[in-house]
Symmetry: C2
Subunit: 120 residues, 2 copies
């Protein structure tokens, strides 16, 4: 993966993009048409579903920012990394871990897991 760092950056950027048009444009360019996104809560297919999920996440957690939690580890068409999310005064309230599988430079699959979340 020549562009793994960029792909991961854009992946997180999409979660932070609150302008609906810009986000949709970003997602369409970033993901393959048959992409999947699966984390403990959701199992999505295609950029439109992912867009809707990000919109819901932003409504549920206003002001949250998603950031990279450490170095990425990439080889072949796959990359693993940890991410943080939270409000500005607790930026790592949520800690997650994803494996992204790419195809021709775009995201084909996201396999997400959770490592930490604040007590509900």
């Amino acid at each position: 993966m020549q562009n793994a760092q960029t792909l991961v950056s854009q992946y997180l950027e999409a979660f932070n993009e609150t302008d609906a048009d810009r986000r949709r444009e970003l997602l369409e360019a970033l993901y393959t048409p048959d992409c999947t996104y699966t984390d403990p809560q959701v199992d999505l297919r295609g950029a439109e579903q992912i867009d809707g999920f990000i919109e819901q996440t932003q409504e549920r957690f206003p002001g949250f920012t998603f950031t990279l939690g450490g170095p990425i580890d990439a080889h072949h068409n796959q990359v693993r990394f940890t991410w943080h999310a939270g409000p500005s005064d607790a930026p790592d309230d949520f800690v997650g871990f994803d494996v992204i599988v790419a195809e021709e430079g775009r995201i084909r699959n996201v396999y997400g897991f959770m490592d930490a979340a604040p007590a509900a």
Copy 2:
């Protein structure tokens, strides 16, 4: 994944199975026909290639045993876990991490990463 624990156990068992016929039988039952296995060193497709890779691994590291390194974390059709491998006097010489994606109870994709290896 109802059978994630079993799938991971059988996945590791196949690495430890030195009887070629039994291993091939196990792999054919465990993996889907279009399965993939990708770690930092190899990018394989199909049970035959995986079988050949396991055979080479056993020849390169005779007497090594692969074991589960901790609890598995499964949801939907995906599971993550850490594995250990090594000789009986250093069973966690090698530490790896895999995400397995299943389809109808069989392994469709293995996305492997390395966490530790002895200095060469």
